[in-house]
């Protein structure tokens, strides 16, 4: 398991990937069955080689092999095992390797689950994935070699940034990358379809589960990252509109649009060209987002090794992948026929509107993120685009989206009338009005009131839709149960995901009312915040594995009853001469009590301590909603009809025709 073996395995994976990119696609062109048939084997071979390479790096990290410069720069002997492993992807080189590994995993997944795909389509999809993977393996080998050695090897490493030493951050990158990279599969399907010159209902059905899976992972990844900054950075912030965050939000928005437009392709064979473009665009955003952030062009708080020389290589790679696929799109997409007709007011029409709004938000975020470097390049002026802009520019576009989320899923296909649907939504409308009244009293600020009200609207209308499908309150419970069993799970999944959006938005809206207080207190002193009495009862020093911590004990009382005792602490790391704050959070599901200990002041015999106390109403709902969204995605994936191994093309089109 030496680093050299790892590098060799990486090179081997690159050879597999190149073969995977060339032979099956050539085979598909020549209709050579044998060449097409080797695609799955190559994809699995590539995955095994990548896995071996990755394990070599993990092994080097776990065994403290500081002769590997990547380990030397990011690890140390005293670091706990979990972080030795997670540290592998906590730096540029390792994270690119992880990225590539997940891409290999996607290729192997298509090979394994795609047995029912027509062999030419499967060969092309796997081939495209191989081509992209080969590019990134070359990038790894040439400019970001994770196995680079140093001589002589020092006894101890330089350690990892303590901020990264956190369980949330250990799992955030793999999940996020799975989301990013997962969109490579819809992308590969889009390219394969352009090569074949054929997009039909079956194609939509094959693409959708991959898009849903990637979307669910991306949702979890973004939520996890946001939750990490909430409890690690220590001032209750959860979203900063930082370029790195935007880089994940942009593909999420276009991926959400893709997920919805693929439904139209599957059910009605319409929006084909648009869906293909979204599939290409989403993966292009994933690619350029992850890598432009590392080039140093974008101003970001996220510190990654920034190197323009690497940037040039990445840019060339992006040029080939994105430029090539868009050129293919411009050349081949015009020959795709337009599909089923539908009226503007219909399920299809509502999905078109969903796409317009999501893509507008996406365009705003993209423009806002890219504006500063472009201004700097074109006019030599530096400007900043931050939270106030993004809040002002995106929320007005999100509001109509939430309004139409209530109607859309209830509209029939092809041609619909609004009035019958509105009549069915009277309960939801009443609930929304009630919510409006409550929020008018409870919340301050127009936007929070509006968003909270609309969140209730989204939740109640989604529930109405599900209840309507089950016939609740119209037929007997037994019959409803029968209907529930026969109702496709994807319908439940969609409803659940919409409810998740509502829950998140409600959390965001109410969280805007958070209260906080910064105080300097002696031990024994109490402070009042949001109806709670916070008392600092003691501070002690606690040794940790590679740090020492100053730990406070804060008792929180409400009406004299003890609610909780929290232990926020401040860690001083020996290796890096750094300190981090460990927030303590007590949640009851409706609100977070959030305590942070800051500096110690004054004489040692009677010191004072700075405390930050926060009351964050509905904060957990923001992430809980994201979890519900991802669960909705998972539920959809478990649908028999959404299985990745979808029925054959001919059969699939028959089913669609019958619907």
């Amino acid at each position: 398991m030496s680093p050299e073996l790892g590098r060799f395995a990486l090179a081997l994976a690159c050879v597999f990937a190149l073969a995977q990119a060339i032979l099956p696609i050539w085979g598909a062109r020549r209709r050579d069955r044998r060449l097409m048939a080797i695609a799955p084997g190559l994809a699995i071979g590539q995955l095994i080689a990548l896995l071996a390479s990755f394990l070599c790096l993990v092994n080097a990290a776990v065994t403290n092999d500081f002769s590997v410069s990547n380990i030397l720069e990011n690890s140390s002997v005293t670091k706990p095992l979990l972080y030795k492993i997670s540290g592998v992807w906590g730096n540029h080189e390792g994270s690119v390797l992880l990225w590539t590994l997940i891409l290999g995993l996607c290729g192997a997944a298509v090979a394994a689950f795609g047995r029912n795909l027509p062999s030419a389509l499967r060969a092309r999809v796997i081939g495209v994935l191989g081509g992209v993977a080969a590019g990134f393996e070359l990038f790894c080998l040439i400019t970001s070699d994770p196995f680079d050695r140093v001589w002589p090897a020092p006894l101890d490493g330089q350690g990892m940034n303590p901020l990264l030493q956190d369980p949330g951050l250990a799992f955030h990158p793999p999940i996020l990358y799975t989301g990013y990279v997962g969109f490579a599969v819809p992308f590969a399907f889009a390219i394969a379809a352009l090569m074949e010159g054929r997009v039909d209902a079956a194609w939509g059905r094959w693409v959708r589960p991959w898009a849903v899976a990637a979307w669910a992972f991306l949702t979890c990844g973004i939520a996890l990252g946001s939750w990490w900054s909430y409890y690690v950075l220590g001032w209750g912030g959860y979203w900063f509109w930082d370029p790195v965050e935007n880089a994940s939000l942009i593909p999420w928005l276009s991926g959400t649009a893709l997920m919805h437009s693929a439904i139209v392709v599957e059910k009605r064979e319409a929006l084909k060209i648009w869906t293909v473009l979204l599939a290409i665009g989403t993966f292009s955003f994933s690619l350029s987002g992850t890598f432009l952030v590392r080039s140093g062009i974008l101003n970001s708080v996220h510190a990654f090794a920034q190197d323009p020389a690497r940037g040039i290589f990445i840019l060339a790679l992006l040029g080939v992948v994105i430029g090539g696929s868009l050129a293919l799109f411009a050349w081949r997409a015009p020959s795709l026929t337009t599909g089923g007709l539908f009226a503007p007011v219909s399920r299809e029409g509502s999905l078109v509107l969903n796409n317009i709004l999501l893509c507008s938000i996406c365009a705003v975020v993209l423009t806002g993120t890219m504006y500063p470097p472009f201004m700097s390049l074109l006019f030599g002026k530096t400007i900043s685009v931050g939270k106030p802009f993004f809040d002002a520019a995106t929320i007005p576009l999100a509001i109509p989206l939430f309004i139409f989320m209530g109607f859309g899923p209830m509209l029939p296909w092809k041609r619909a009338q609004l009035w019958p649907v509105m009549k069915r939504l009277w309960v939801a409308a009443l609930a929304t009005l009630a919510a409006f009244a409550v929020t008018m009293i409870g919340l301050s600020g127009l936007l929070p009131i509006l968003c909270a009200t609309l969140a209730v609207w989204v939740i109640t209308s989604s529930l109405t839709d599900l209840a309507g499908r089950l016939g609740l309150f119209r037929v007997s419970l037994g019959q409803s149960f029968q209907r529930a069993k026969s109702l496709p799970r994807s319908a439940f999944g969609a409803g659940l995901a919409h409810i998740g959006v509502g829950v998140s938005v409600l959390g965001l809206a109410v969280m805007s009312q958070a209260q906080h207080k910064i105080v300097e207190v002696h031990v024994g002193q109490s402070e009042q915040l949001a109806g709670y009495e916070w008392t600092l009862t003691g501070v002690r020093n606690v040794p940790g594995p590679n740090y020492t911590a100053m730990e406070a004990t804060i008792e929180i009382r409400h009406d004299g009853h003890l609610v909780t005792v929290m232990h926020p602490s401040k860690r001083s790391f020996n290796t890096q001469n750094q300190t981090t704050t460990e927030v303590s959070i007590h949640t009851n599901g409706l609100a977070d009590l959030y305590g942070v200990i800051g500096d110690k002041h004054g004489p040692d015999d009677n010191p004072t301590y700075v405390l930050r106390l926060h009351y964050n109403p509905l904060a957990p709902w923001m992430w809980f909603g994201a979890l519900i969204m991802a669960m909705g995605g998972a539920l959809s994936l478990s649908d028999r009809r959404m299985r990745v191994g979808a029925p054959r093309r001919a059969v699939a089109s028959d089913v669609v025709a019958a619907e």
């Binding site: 940037g311 840019l315 994105i322 430029g323 868009l326 050129a327 795709l336 390049l377 030599g380």
Partner: protein
């Protein structure tokens, strides 16, 4: 099911028109790609820095301030700069700032033909004095900006920063990078030539 292939009877012109329309994303991506390439190559050459803060102070008279002494130098005020008849370089530094220490050698070489006035930014008097004793003192006069408020009036965001003051007290050139950088020195020399210095 309708055929996916374009039938030969289809209007050729309309396909070309659609190709042009659907080529728009490619053109957009291409433009972005060229721009990114320019940015990256500019960053490598040092001509483009997206992290630069272009200070609006250049072209304006020096802001009003009075600074107490920072031994071994004597403090100065805006009026002193305005009364000058030859260009002078104002340099913000601090003993806790590693790039400032790296810059000292270049400043010592520079002060032979351009007077440099220093401002110790958020530094303890004794620490700044210690630094100048240790690394050499390139400054003709030194003021102490203990709380960093004068630096804010100059638009300083982080030390080291240098400003070239033309006779009469006009700020004509500014750099947020250290003068140990040869390109920064070239920029300074060009600005100096423009105001009639050597």
């Amino acid at each position: 099911m309708n055929s996916e292939e374009v039938s030969p009877g289809d209007d050729r012109k309309s396909v070309t028109r659609r190709r042009l329309l659907l080529g728009v994303p490619m053109v957009g991506a291409g433009v972005c790609g060229v721009a990114f390439w320019k940015m990256l190559s500019g960053m490598q050459a040092g001509s483009f820095n997206p992290h630069d803060i272009n200070a609006p102070v250049t072209g304006r008279p020096v802001p009003d301030f009075t600074l107490p002494d920072q031994p071994p130098g004597t403090g100065f005020a805006a009026a002193d700069l305005k009364a000058l008849t030859a260009p002078v370089l104002v340099n913000f530094f601090a003993s806790w700032c590693i790039p400032c220490i790296a810059e000292m050698e270049a400043l010592l070489a520079l002060q032979k033909h351009l007077p440099i006035w220093g401002i110790a930014y958020k530094d303890k008097i004794e620490n700044a004095t210690g630094l100048l004793k240790h690394a050499g003192n390139p400054y003709s006069r030194i003021g102490s900006d203990r709380n960093g408020r004068v630096a804010i009036d100059w638009g300083v965001s982080g030390v080291p920063e240098s400003f070239l003051i033309a006779p009469g007290g006009l700020i004509v050139w500014h750099s947020a990078a250290g003068l140990d950088n040869s390109e920064v020195r070239d920029g300074l020399n060009a600005a100096l030539k423009a105001v009639g210095g050597r």
